[in-house]
């Protein structure tokens, strides 16, 4: 686009591509698109409503009124699943942006946007779920505005990284918003910031993915020794690679069905190729992860613990949910079997959930006589968070060029 034509617009964002009024455009965009009574909507809407009621109760009567948390187990499903697991699944964004923008591997370009959008929303919602878990959320600004910096705290680091990373991902995604609004100049500026945002974002990701594990380093005596080691941060980082990519594969297989009208023939073909190469990366990362786990296990010499219920549970995780899906990824990569890859991705995701819960909830205070089990209300609120995220995701995908190609004017600029 020529600068001269653009500079005629005083506020480039106020008019869209064809010079229509942007507000009318926005209002029309906020109307629902697509069918209202889909099975997903029928299931998710009541749960979201119930969840909202429960959230009100939670703030009114206290956290104990909806959760089963105890003085011994102060972090439960909301931290262990929503935050810790949710963020691991959002790891796809930093891996994919690394390959596309850092390694300049254009092959994955068509899935960058959807992955970044997914990552961004995951951070907003799952890291945002942290707010539900805060007893005194009105003080959440304290570590941010700088009147009380607990700089020795891993949680301080993680919280800041969440915030900054959301910003980085928003910048990475912003060209899509600009294309939606037809803001040509803004798009140009924003896409110019992509590389910087990507580099910043990857750096932040390595630190907070591992930081989520480092949170538990001081709980040395509370976490079952099979899951505690000083290498939790490394484990969390490495597993976030295949956690994120499995999510990308899984999400892609659903999106390509639900939003098939958005995806061009060309991209459809590309996508299969992408999934196949992703499966190889997953398998490689899982191999490294498995190897690391074996090393740590041998180093800590917990042989005696293997022959206990927790030991079997550990073996189940390591073999059933790491080794098996890893081999499945390798095998299906060889056979180029998309269906098997999807199966492997799902098993891997279950394994990541299992692992994160084992560190944060199941293996936490495992000897306690009364174990923490999440209440149904905690579950409903967790589902509310997930469903709301999917609703927003769908809203964005139906409107912005996420899966579908960018408008022609934006392509010219490449």
């Amino acid at each position: 686009m020529k600068e001269t034509t653009m500079s005629n617009h005083a506020i480039p964002v106020a008019k869209d591509n064809d010079g229509k009024n942007i507000w009318k455009f926005l209002v029309s965009e906020f109307k629902p698109k697509g069918k209202i009574f889909t099975p997903f909507n029928i299931i998710s809407a009541p749960i979201i409503l119930l969840g909202i009621v429960l959230i009100v109760i939670r703030f009114w009567k206290g956290i104990g009124s909806v959760t089963n948390l105890t003085q011994e187990v102060p972090w439960g499903l909301w931290i262990g699943f929503d935050v810790v697991t949710g963020v691991a699944f959002a790891g796809g964004a930093y891996v994919i942006t690394f390959m596309v923008y850092i390694l300049n591997n254009r092959k994955y370009h068509s899935i960058v946007r959807v992955t970044v959008l997914n990552g961004f929303l995951a951070y907003v919602f799952y890291a945002g779920a942290l707010l539900l878990d805060l007893g005194r959320p009105w003080n959440v600004v304290n570590p941010i505005i700088g009147n009380s910096f607990g700089t020795n705290s891993v949680l301080f680091l993680v919280a800041w990284h969440f915030l900054l990373y959301m910003l980085a991902e928003l910048i990475e995604f912003s060209p899509a918003i600009a294309e939606w609004l037809g803001a040509k100049r803004a798009r140009k500026i924003l896409s110019g910031m992509t590389i910087a945002a990507v580099i910043f974002g990857i750096t932040l990701s390595t630190l907070h993915q591992s930081g989520l594990g480092a949170l538990f380093l001081m709980a040395r005596d509370k976490i079952h020794p099979l899951w505690y080691s000083e290498f939790i941060p490394v484990m969390f980082l490495v597993s976030s690679i295949f956690a994120g990519l499995s999510m990308v594969i899984f999400e892609g297989s659903i999106s390509s069905r639900v939003f098939s009208s958005q995806i061009s023939e060309k991209h459809h073909g590309e996508h299969n190729n992408i999934v196949i190469s992703l499966s190889r990366i997953c398998a490689g990362a899982m191999l490294a992860y498995f190897f690391l786990n074996v090393l740590v296990f041998i180093h800590d010499r917990h042989w005696d613990l293997l022959n206990t219920p927790m030991g079997y549970w550990y073996l189940l995780e390591m073999i059933g949910f790491v080794l098996v899906p890893m081999m499945l990824f390798f095998y299906s990569y060889r056979r180029k079997s998309l269906n098997l890859i999807k199966v492997a991705a799902i098993i891997t995701m279950l394994g990541v959930i299992l692992n994160r819960l084992n560190v944060t909830v199941i293996g936490f205070k495992w000897e306690e006589a009364v174990r923490y089990v999440p209440s149904w209300m905690e579950l409903v609120i967790t589902l509310t968070v997930i469903f709301t995220e999917i609703w927003i995701f769908r809203w964005v995908v139906r409107r912005m060029p996420v899966l579908r190609d960018s408008p022609l004017w934006a392509k010219d600029e490449k």
Binding site: W60, I63, R136, P137, N152, M218, D221, E230
Partner: protein, 288 residues
């Protein structure tokens, strides 16, 4: 072996510290050179289990008086309504009482955990909680090796409850309520250095009455609460598997590497980005 790795982490960390000048992470104090923190010495051989400390503590801090008494075989716990409890243990030397409350660690895990500095190690020694800063994340509870901080789960304005060594009284020049009121003189308030000297003296003078240990001298890097007892710690309800180094040091290795990551990773990424700029891979190419 663990040491080697830690040293490696430290070396890596040093790079980071030099890079980020003004980093507030400080080295652990060398043993024997502790600052003059106040502390409390509790002597199990003197305690008669009368619960006066529990009662005065409840009165001082506005909690309900205890309704149950120490019973052997029952572990009573502190809670959001109670900052200290005395428990009874059947040991090889008969019945022994042990008082439980915040240990006021020299290098508290809860303080290192707290991202708002709501948990705070005062220069006098007590570890206190400051409600105007706390955001209720409960990371202090996750991190405290003694499970001391408690949370008001059923309040819309919940507080973290734990012993603060009667910090307000100390500032007024008084001593903690429990120490002042204990009829058996089982609770002594003083500087940590003096208390350790006193504890050593008691053990030395009456070796047949005391077991030869001071709980809290080395545990978790040293605590403000110190204990002497007629039986080894394992018999009277102490945690015996804790590290003798400070708990914040467990995550320091990680935190030390952060500045170096922040400098090295972007440079590294930029380097690769420049190097690969001209080879746009396309379909079928598997060069990840």
């Amino acid at each position: 072996m663990g040491l080697d790795r830690r040293n490696f982490m430290k070396a890596l960390g040093l790079t980071g510290v030099t890079l980020a000048a003004g980093n507030s992470l400080k080295a652990a104090p060398v043993k024997g050179e502790e600052v003059e923190f106040f502390g409390v010495l509790y002597d199990s051989t003197r305690c008669v289990g009368c619960q006066t400390c529990e009662i005065t503590c409840a009165e001082t801090h506005g909690f309900p008086a205890p309704t149950d008494a120490p019973t052997a075989g029952v572990i009573r716990k502190t809670s959001e309504n109670c900052r200290t409890v005395v428990n009874l243990f059947n040991t090889s030397k008969g019945e022994v009482y042990t008082k439980n409350q915040c240990m006021h660690c020299n290098e508290p895990a809860c303080v290192a955990a707290c991202l708002t500095q709501a948990m705070y190690k005062t220069k006098e020694g007590p570890v206190i909680w400051r409600g105007n800063k706390c955001m209720g994340c409960r990371y202090c509870m996750v991190s405290c090796p003694f499970d001391v901080p408690k949370f008001e789960y059923f309040s819309s304005n919940p507080r973290i409850i734990k012993c603060d060594m009667c910090y307000d009284r100390i500032k007024e020049g008084k001593i903690p309520a429990c120490a002042e009121n204990c009829p058996a003189e089982a609770i002594t308030f003083g500087t940590r250095r003096d208390l350790i000297r006193e504890a050593r003296k008691r053990i030395h003078d009456q070796p047949d009455v005391y077991a030869d240990f001071i709980y809290g001298e080395d545990e978790v890097g040293g605590t403000g609460e110190l204990y002497v007892s007629p039986v080894p710690p394992i018999e009277s309800g102490f945690k015996t598997t804790l590290l003798n180094e400070s708990y914040p040091s467990l995550s320091k290795g990680f935190l030390y590497t952060v500045p170096s990551v922040f400098v090295l990773v972007p440079v590294f990424l930029l380097g690769i980005h420049e190097a690969t700029k001209n080879n746009h891979h396309n379909e079928g190419d598997d060069n990840e």
